[in-house]
C-alpha cells in the first residue's frame, strides 16, 4: 500500500527500479515460500500495481511464468483472469516472451489455453496469426510470422499422478530451453574445432610454391 501512496511523487524511473527490485526479491525467494503464500503476495501486488507495469520488467514476466508452471492447479479463477490480462498487455517489444506464456498456459490446461487464444483474438495482438499449423501428438505447432518464429507448444500434463509429475518436470526443463530459441540463433548449434581460414590460405600458398599435390 505504501507504494501506492508514494507513487504520485515518484518519477516513472524510480517506480520501475522499485518494481524490479521487488520482483527480483520475490523471484529469488520464490522457492522458499509455500505456494499459497506466494499467490497471496501476487494477488496483493496485482491489486497495488497496474498490470502493464508488471509486464515491463523481465523479472515480473519470469515470476508469472514460474507461477504458471508451478501453480496451475491451484490458481484461482480471478488470478487466471489477471494473468490473461497480463498477456493482453504485453508490450510488442517483448513479443518473444509471449510464446513463453502461451506455453505455460498450454501446460495448464488445453481448455484454458483455448480461452486465452480466443480472448486475444479480440485484441491488438491478433495482428499475428495464432492459428495452429499442425496438430502434433501432444500439442500444436504455432507460427508467428511477425517475429519469425515457429513454436511448438505442447506437453501432456493431463494426468496428475506423481510419476507423471516427475516426467513432466524434466520435460518442462527441456521445453524451457526450446523457448529461449530465437530465429537466426541456432540453439542446436554445436561446437567442434574447425580450421582457421588463414591456415587454409597458408597451406594453399605452400602447396603452390612447392608444387605439391592436393586433394
Amino acid at each position: 500500500m505504501w507504494i501506492q501512496e508514494l507513487s504520485p511523487q515518484l518519477s516513472q524511473t524510480l517506480k520501475m527500479i522499485l518494481l524490479i527490485s521487488l520482483f527480483s526479491f520475490l523471484y529469488n525467494t520464490l522457492l522458499s515460500f509455500s505456494l499459497p503464500r506466494i499467490l497471496r503476495v501476487i494477488q496483493l501486488i496485482n491489486l497495488i500495481l497496474p498490470i502493464t507495469l508488471l509486464c515491463h520488467s523481465l523479472e515480473g514476466i519470469q515470476l508469472i511464468t514460474v507461477l504458471l508452471q508451478q501453480g496451475y492447479k491451484t490458481l484461482s479463477p480471478m488470478l487466471l483472469d489477471i494473468l490473461c490480462l497480463i498477456i493482453l498487455h504485453i508490450n510488442i517489444s517483448q513479443l518473444n516472451i509471449l510464446p513463453f506464456l502461451l506455453l505455460s498456459l498450454m501446460c495448464m490446461n488445453h481448455e484454458i489455453f483455448r480461452r486465452q487464444i480466443h480472448m486475444m483474438n479480440g485484441d491488438k495482438l491478433c495482428m499475428m496469426s495464432y492459428k495452429p499449423l499442425i496438430k502434433i501428438r501432444h500439442g500444436v505447432l504455432f507460427n508467428f510470422p511477425k517475429i519469425n518464429m515457429l513454436w511448438a507448444v505442447g506437453g501432456c500434463i493431463k494426468s496428475s499422478s506423481t510419476q507423471m509429475g516427475l516426467l513432466t518436470d524434466t520435460r518442462r526443463v527441456l521445453w524451457l530451453r526450446a523457448i529461449l530459441k530465437v530465429f537466426g540463433v541456432d540453439y542446436k548449434e554445436t561446437f567442434t574445432p574447425v580450421v582457421k581460414m588463414n591456415i587454409v590460405r597458408v597451406l594453399l600458398s605452400v602447396v603452390v610454391n612447392n608444387r605439391w599435390l592436393m586433394c
Binding site: 542446436k188 574447425v194 591456415i199 587454409v200 590460405r201 597451406l203 605452400v206 610454391n209 599435390l213 586433394c215
Partner: protein, 401 residues
C-alpha cells in the same frame, strides 16, 4: 565424407525416447541408450572430431600447435598435411604414395568419398592452372545477391562511398535479424575478398543496433559485389615461403568514438594469406601510438604464422619483414629509448624491441602510396583502390584489363 557424425563415440550417457512407429513405442518405460553419437546431439561434432583425431594419430600424424584441426606428418621425405573442417577434409603433400596410403587407411575406418583434386571447399571455388591457384566465391556472391533481391542492382566501383560520413541517428531498423544475417554472410565472404574487408568490419560494428543508414551501407557493398562477383585471390609460385607483413592504421578515424583502425595483410611465399581490419580497443593520443599498437598486433600474427610454417617444416632464420609507413614507429622500434610520450605503451615497446633484437622481425619503411593495408583502414578513391587490389593479388578474371 558421408554421415560423419554417426562415427563418434559418446562419453556421456544419453537416452532417447522410442520414436513413434516403433513397435514398443507405446510403453513409456522403455528408452534407448546411445553408444554412438547421432545427428542432432550437441556432442556429435566433437565426438566425431575426437574419433578422427584418434585414427589420424594412430597413423603417425601429429596435431599442429597452431591449429587443432591441422594434422601433420613429417617423414624423412614425405610430408603430408591434413586439414579438417568438420566433415570436409583436405589432404596436401609432396608424396603421392603417402597420400594414397592415408586415403586407404581412412577408407577402412570411415565411408569417405574421394572427390579427387580440390575444386570446392566450404563454398570456396578453387581453380587450378599451370600458373597457380585461383580462389573465389562466385556462386556464394550470386546466391547472396539473389537472397537480398539485389541481383539487378546497379554495380558500384568501390564498396564504400568515398565521402562516407557515419551517422548514428536515423530510423531504427525493423528487422535486426535480416541485417545480422546479411552481415554474417558478408563476413564469410571476406575469406576470398580482401577488398570488402574494411567495409564489412565497418558494418559489423553495428550488429546489435543497426539503423536504416547501416542497412544502406550493406546495400552499397552488395552493389559493389554485383559489379565484381567473380573476384578472388590468385596464388602463384614464387619459389619460396618467406613471410612479409604490411601494417597500417588510421588515426582516430572512427567519428563516433575516435578509436583507430588497424589493418594488416601478410604474404607467405608472395601470396596473400592473412588480412584483417580491426578497430582498436584503445583511444590513442598520437598517430605514433596508434601505429605502434598496430605494429604489436601485427607482430603477434607474424609470430603465429612463423610458428605455423615451422610446424609445416619450413622454418627459416631470415627475419620476417614488416613494412610500415610511419617513421616515428620505426625509430621507436629501433632505439631502446623511452620518452614521456611512450610511457604508457612501454610493454608494447619492449615486446617489439625484443622481436627486432632477436631478429624475428625486421622493420622496413615503405612509402605511403604503396602501402597495401590502406585498403583495410580507410575509404580510398576508385583508382587507388584497384591499384592496391591488384598488388594484393586480388583479381577479377572477368575484368577487361
Amino acid at each position: 565424407m558421408s554421415s560423419a557424425f554417426l562415427h563418434g563415440n559418446l562419453e556421456e550417457e544419453v537416452y532417447m525416447k522410442l520414436p513413434l512407429g516403433h513397435p514398443q513405442s507405446s510403453d513409456p518405460n522403455l528408452v534407448y541408450q546411445f553408444h554412438k553419437s547421432i545427428y542432432g546431439l550437441k556432442q556429435s561434432p566433437r565426438a566425431w572430431h575426437a574419433q578422427l583425431s584418434v585414427v589420424l594419430e594412430d597413423s603417425g600424424f601429429k596435431r599442429s600447435n597452431a591449429d587443432s584441426s591441422l594434422f601433420i606428418h613429417l617423414g624423412p621425405m614425405a610430408k603430408v598435411m591434413f586439414l579438417v573442417y568438420v566433415d570436409d577434409l583436405i589432404i596436401v603433400g609432396n608424396d603421392s604414395d603417402a597420400i594414397s596410403h592415408l586415403k586407404a587407411t581412412l577408407q577402412k575406418r570411415f565411408p569417405i568419398k574421394d572427390l579427387g583434386n580440390l575444386k570446392y571447399f566450404l563454398g570456396i571455388e578453387i581453380a587450378i592452372s599451370h600458373k597457380g591457384l585461383f580462389l573465389n566465391q562466385h556462386k556464394y556472391v550470386l546466391d547472396l545477391l539473389k537472397d537480398a533481391k539485389m541481383i539487378d542492382a546497379k554495380p558500384a566501383p568501390i564498396p564504400l562511398d568515398s565521402k562516407l560520413k557515419l551517422k548514428t541517428t536515423s530510423e531504427p531498423l525493423g528487422s535486426i535479424n535480416y541485417y545480422q544475417h546479411l552481415v554474417g554472410r558478408l563476413i564469410y565472404l571476406t575469406i576470398t575478398r580482401p577488398d570488402i574487408t574494411y567495409a564489412v568490419s565497418l558494418v559489423s560494428q553495428f550488429m546489435h543496433t543497426p539503423i536504416v543508414f547501416h542497412l544502406n551501407l550493406v546495400k552499397r557493398i552488395l552493389c559493389y559485389l554485383k559489379g565484381s562477383a567473380g573476384r578472388g585471390i590468385v596464388m602463384t609460385n614464387h619459389g619460396h615461403t618467406q613471410i612479409t607483413g604490411y601494417r597500417d592504421s588510421d588515426w582516430a578515424g572512427n567519428a563516433i568514438d575516435r578509436k583507430s583502425t588497424t589493418g594488416f595483410c601478410m604474404f607467405v611465399g608472395g601470396n596473400l594469406v592473412s588480412y584483417r581490419s580491426k578497430k582498436q580497443h584503445i583511444v590513442a593520443h598520437s598517430s605514433a601510438e596508434v601505429e605502434y599498437h598496430a605494429m604489436t598486433f601485427t607482430t603477434y600474427e607474424l609470430i603465429w604464422l612463423k610458428g605455423l610454417l615451422s610446424n609445416l617444416g619450413f622454418s627459416s632464420s631470415i627475419p620476417m619483414t614488416l613494412f610500415c609507413d610511419n617513421q616515428a614507429t620505426l625509430h621507436i622500434a629501433a632505439n631502446p629509448v623511452f620518452h614521456e610520450r611512450t610511457k604508457h605503451i612501454e610493454v608494447d615497446c619492449h615486446f617489439i624491441h625484443q622481436q627486432v633484437h632477436s631478429q624475428v622481425i625486421k622493420t622496413c619503411y615503405i612509402c605511403s602510396h604503396d602501402q597495401l593495408p590502406d585498403l583495410f583502414t580507410k575509404v580510398l578513391t576508385s583508382a587507388h583502390f584497384h591499384h592496391l587490389l591488384s598488388k594484393l593479388g586480388s583479381i577479377n578474371p572477368l575484368d577487361p584489363a
